[in-house]
Assembly symmetry: C2
Homo-oligomer: 134 residues x 2
């Protein structure tokens, strides 16, 4: 069911410093910062040959990653995103097997303009999993 690893998301406190680290120290290609007020984050995409790393900086105190950064002041891997061909079929299959879908259970439009869902970390090896329609 799951397909490509779409991205690994790393929450960071200082997006400019983290972008410079990936660009200058690790020598990767990075995007301009992309504010996403509807998701409460500003994102920089680190473009690797086979996938992306996304650096997420909280936008405001209500940001979904603000609490994560309180617990992890150095930053850290926040979630991992797998692509699926049919997000509603994937959701129904997962729910039938007892996995918990976060929020209302209805897909929202994610950072790439496609429907996404998040799955409960306790059901997936302590890892917050995002599913994105391929």
């Amino acid at each position: 069911m799951i397909g490509r690893l779409n991205h690994v998301a790393i929450a960071v406190k200082d997006l400019a410093a983290s972008t410079a680290l990936y660009r200058d120290t690790l020598g990767a290609r990075v995007s301009q910062p992309l504010p996403q007020p509807e998701h409460g984050v500003t994102v920089v995409f680190v473009e690797l040959p086979n996938t992306k790393v996304e650096l997420l900086e909280p936008m405001g105190a209500d940001s979904p990653i603000a609490k994560f950064l309180e617990r992890n002041p150095d930053g850290g891997i926040h979630h991992i995103c797998y692509e699926v061909d049919d997000i509603l079929a994937a959701r129904d299959r997962l729910k039938a097997q007892g996995a918990r879908v976060l929020g209302s259970g209805e897909p929202r439009i994610g950072a790439h303009g496609k429907p996404v869902l998040f799955l409960h970390p306790k059901d997936f090896c302590g890892t917050l999993v995002e599913l994105e329609q391929a």
Copy 2:
């Protein structure tokens, strides 16, 4: 400098259950368990179309992931591995920029039979980074 995302490693307490989750619930292709006594772990590879997830179960109390699982009893993402063309050149470039290389600083042979190094999480957005010679 960094190239492909070689793998994302997830530490788990129960490798059989986590393998079944990725195979049966998430519908991914998984390998047989591969004991790696020299690294203190047993590994299952989850083969995605563009990269791998590695499920790591500690082998013995001295395992490098045992402490991580004490702090994260549900499991969690342990490290992320980027490929580099020349691991010694990469190491020297990183050290010259002030990044800390873990251990002796000399590459060891990793899980895929290639030289690897680990970088200090505090220097890389709170993320333990493995570099592997491509």
